[in-house]
Amino acid sequence: MVDSVKVAFSVNGKAVTAEVEPRTLLVTFLREHLGLTGTHVGCDTSQCGACCVHLDGRSVKSCTILTAQADGAAITTIEGLGTPENLHPMQQAFNENHGLQCGFCTPGMIMSATDFAARNPDPAEHEVREWLEGNICRCTGYHNIVKSVQAGARAMAQG
């Protein structure tokens, strides 16, 4: 009954082709097939946002998308944003504003925040808090995350 599905898309700018079981979730493919373990599985119920990646430029929860649904798309994960030597402005802002403690939610926070900041170069605090509805952090109490996103958005706007 079950065939495999052929997919072709780009991940962090590199072309990827694969044949997967239809039920393979995108987050499973990224982590277990490509070894991109920066994308985390937190709740696995599309609540927490630790699995956020960009699909054609928009943040989505990769635990609730089939790999097959991403066929033809451009996917960006946290590994595609910056490097340890050359952090993305949003990563730098989280670093400088102490926007993380344990760090588990951070990749998802940053993928969500960069999507938001691309359209909101100088967001108000309440706008950031509303946007982060889909990202749960159990350490920080969010205050420093909000500061980080505001600073990161301004830094991104300055290029």
Partner: protein
Amino acid sequence: MYAFAYHKPRSLAEAGELLASHDEARLLAGGMTLLPALKQRLAAPTDLVDLGGLADLVGITVSDSEIAIGAMTTHAAVTRNDAVATKIPALATLAGGIGDPQVRHRGTIGGSICNADPAADYPAGVVALGATIVTDRREIAADDFFTGMFETALEPGEIVRQVRFPIPEAAGYAKFPNPASRYAVVGVFVAKTAGGVRVAVTGAGPSVFRIPAMESALAANFSPDSVTGISVPEGELNNDPHATAAYRAHLIGVMARRAVASARNTSEGEN
């Protein structure tokens, strides 16, 4: 998740054939409800028919009298659409309050109404605005579409193409969201239309329903105070861990007043 076969049709006709030729096939729209259900093994279709390749089902078209939204249009696209924001701002508010930003990037209007979750937002807007649901074989009036909890008038294999919303004179939506899921504990959509005032409630009962007493009171005087004292019998309302029936009955009145107030403010703002 149980195993299934995956199909991505290139036309609506092909999607219909795939549904017809597999007894246990399900349509996949945005997947924001179906995929979690599959992961919990609450559903076990043999085949998924992904509508994601059908560009005809995506998009918003506007005329003088109505806004038509393709079934595969995401909540994010609806809430960010200038025409929706200008002509039916309450619908933009509704779409922008579903789930969270990432869910709104995937979830679709067609998926929402076909699932007919008793706590979903869209059914309230669809019914209050007197929308028409266009399928691959007919048109269904909103009042006839939602038939019960997770039940619609759709026949087996029938596919929703579009939802057409007449532009109202004024409309407002207010909901009391569950703090975790953002599903409506109670949501009330009020619309002042050419055919009269319509009030539709989601979240409170097994399926979306109208409140005729509020509609006639608002037709006489479109003011928040008009609905004060009009209540819905608790016995007909949901009683669950999220809220008691008595609390929901109370919230219906509060949300109805807020919906009317926001409708008045919006229409005054435009004038």
